[in-house]
Symmetry: C2
């Protein structure tokens, strides 16, 4: 399980041109692990080690390199060599990679890529980012309905090296219309009847995605139906490609990270935390921080208008952050609940009234309880300044800000979904900013009414 090789030894083998040792290194391990053990080599060294692996292993190891290294290698090596290698990479991976390479170099490479691969690349690059089309690979196992079990097994054995998955074989007609699916499992179970046409075995009720579907929808379908791969079709139900389970996992990881950034009011990162230049990172944070800063000027204005009340009842200020943060917290909770339920498909826009009723009920319960706590806190915190009547400002305010938090936190994500935007955008910072403002307004008005 552990590898006896270390970087100095790899470098030693490169210096001595130890072809056998390097070949063994490339083939002994899982390709991902081979790539990990090379971590620390320069782009040039990595590429020289890789020459000792044959295709498709060479491409597999390469795909496990960090993206920055992949880009560096392809930009550094001879254009002809790079173009040929690009032709050998899996269709979905090479498109992702070309999107990261300098456009000038891509323009030099493309004419050198073999014509069939070049067309495939151009087609895939035309699909908008984050759609099924942009995520799919165009290499998949396809056979006609008349093909027999024994011929099908032979055929997929022959294609095994080239295809990303051979465990789902798609049954298509001459125009690539998708008719059904036979799994390797079914073929192996049917080995006893080698002459059966696969049209008799195939499943006809297939779960598919449209080429324009969002990749998050794709991930949800694959998760829901426990699929190894999902076929991507066009308007005429012609099969264009597949998206495999491992790509779906990657999509999930990326989407989860994006949601986490959005929830903290940041533009999602394209690269790793330490790999993103400091100024780029500052910019991604600064944009939203500045927007929220200027939005908070509204609260400044509200407090300036209320300065008469604040001056005559100084203890009101003590509870200002408490009131605001309690409303904000209840709003974040509602937003997290509704966003998660929307994403999981547990609730739909039509359920809005049920959601609102639940949230209001919870708002009353939580607000009532914390209101009682707040009443006594006020009396305890400033016994010399707060009368039992004046202290009523707190429970009334707390009930109202918590109710407002639950309403805004639950309805705004649903509104965003309705408008076709990502509800996750609506999670913390906006709700929080809005709650600061509304919480302050409520607090000052309740205070003026009671006192």
């Amino acid at each position: 399980m552990t590898n006896p090789l270390y970087l100095p030894e790899l470098r030693g083998m490169l210096a001595e041109n130890d072809a056998q040792g390097l070949r063994e290194f490339c083939t002994a391990l899982h390709p991902a692990r081979t790539a990990e053990f090379m971590d620390g080599l320069t782009a040039d060294e990595s590429w020289r080690v890789l020459q000792h692996a044959e295709l498709p292993l060479k491409a597999e190891i390469f795909c496990f390199f960090p993206e920055e290294l992949q880009v560096e290698i392809l930009e550094a090596i001879d254009r002809d060599e790079a173009a040929r290698f690009v032709g050998d990479l899996p269709p979905d991976d090479r498109v992702d990679l070309l999107n990261e390479i300098k456009p000038k170099i891509v323009a030099e490479l493309m004419p050198l890529v073999p014509v069939e691969e070049r067309r495939d690349i151009q087609r895939l690059r035309a699909y908008p980012e984050d759609t099924a089309g942009a995520e799919m690979t165009t290499e998949f196992a396809r056979l006609g309905e008349d093909c027999t079990v024994s011929k099908a097994l032979e055929e997929i054995g022959r294609q095994a090296e080239e295809l990303e998955t051979i465990y789902y074989i798609y049954v298509v007609d001459n125009e690539d219309h998708l008719h059904g699916l036979v799994s390797a499992r079914q073929l192996l179970s049917a080995m006893g009847n080698p002459e059966t046409p696969i049209g008799q075995l195939m499943e006809r009720d297939l779960v598919t995605v449209h080429v324009d579907d969002d990749r998050e929808e794709v991930a949800q379908k694959v998760a829901r139906y426990d699929l190894l791969a999902i076929p991507v079709v066009d308007d005429e139900h012609r099969m264009l490609g597949i998206i495999t389970h491992d790509d779906v996992l990657d999509v999930m990881v990326e989407e989860a990270a994006e949601d986490a950034y959005r929830a903290a009011a940041m533009e999602p990162l394209q690269e790793s935390y330490l790999g993103t230049p400091l100024m780029a990172l500052t910019w991604k944070r600064g944009v939203w921080l500045t927007i929220l800063f200027f939005a908070a000027q509204l609260t400044v204005w509200v407090l300036r208008e209320g300065q008469g009340t604040l001056a005559s009842v100084p203890w009101l200020v003590f509870f200002l952050p408490l009131v605001i943060s309690t409303g904000g917290n209840s709003g974040s909770q509602s937003a997290a609940l509704v966003i998660t339920a929307l994403t999981a498909g547990e609730i739909h826009l039509g359920d809005w009234w049920r959601v609102v009723r639940r949230e209001l009920a919870m708002g009353f319960l939580l607000g009532g309880f914390l209101g009682v706590c707040g009443y006594f806190c006020a009396l305890v915190a400033a016994p010399d300044q707060v009368s039992p009547t004046a202290a009523l400002v707190l429970p009334i305010t707390l009930v109202l800000v918590i109710l407002w938090g639950t309403l805004a936190g639950s309805l705004l994500p649903m509104l965003f979904r309705r408008l076709g935007w990502d509800p996750a955008l609506m999670s913390n910072p906006f709700v929080a900013g809005l709650n600061d403002l509304v919480g302050t307004v409520i607090y000052l008005n309740v205070a003026m009414a009671v006192l």
Copy 2:
């Protein structure tokens, strides 16, 4: 792709006892879709429809029912029948299910479950929640090293119906020590040499997880190495089970939801939003809301101590929410960056100094820019009250609270990881609460120093 059947028709077929129609309904579609079309039937009706599917299809459709329905069915039907059916379910799914059923009924069922399955259930239930052991299934394809390609193909064809995946075949010795892995892909490619022993084909460098590993680690490995399934081993490298790609996807979905709840200061839900009783939901929110509420009393106390300053400089109050929320927002951003990078394995605890330097640099840049904005905002907001010197309170405070936010937001998640806790616990509410307090302290002290 669309199904012509609707609930009334299903009910009609049940009333007429239309065995052929119901059998066709059960077999025509993907099992997940069959289950979806039955949505709305009672537990009794669902179970009666299911009688027309044979094993293992019956178990597959059942596993796609919502969990509440599965529980209701098993609790309602005859104990003998339920026990036999439990024996037929996939090992990992039935353990999850039994954990949801009333303990009294489980105690009645268990003695009726066939002995081999009963032992398996008891073993799996002994693993702590969220470990690899609790997630794995004990049914997988295993063969000896001497087995030939043709015999291996025959064998997995025979077992195809019973196993969750036949695409990875594990090579073990008599004591179940894991030696290697042969994929169905390799076997199919090697069909031309049927007498080759699989020991010659197998990969020996396997990625495995330990039975006590956290399920999040399992998911990360499967995602990193693009696996269909990962073997679960004990201390002696004996193979205990596998975790398949579809279960990993489910883990990812659940973990993402848990993180979202934690980030919003809530206990994760066990069931769906609408399925969780109102009081349970209120409790899960209320606990943290109350803790944060009482933590905010510290801010009340700080402001009461500072009331002299606030009374003599009334305009300070206008900017209190702004100062607090800006610090809170920069802290959330840092926390989101560091938590995401930690989870993805991009940074490690040893990188803490690099992280702190980056965060401090960003804190200075962001604080400097917003400080300048804040200076002019103060002059504009209350020109009659704020002198050019007094306005300096804002830029100084903003730089300090933003620096504090970036430091706390980046270091606290790393501290939590160091203590073996989930860094995601450290995201929004705690950092936010702490920032409220520290921000207020900084603001008042800067004001006293400047004025």
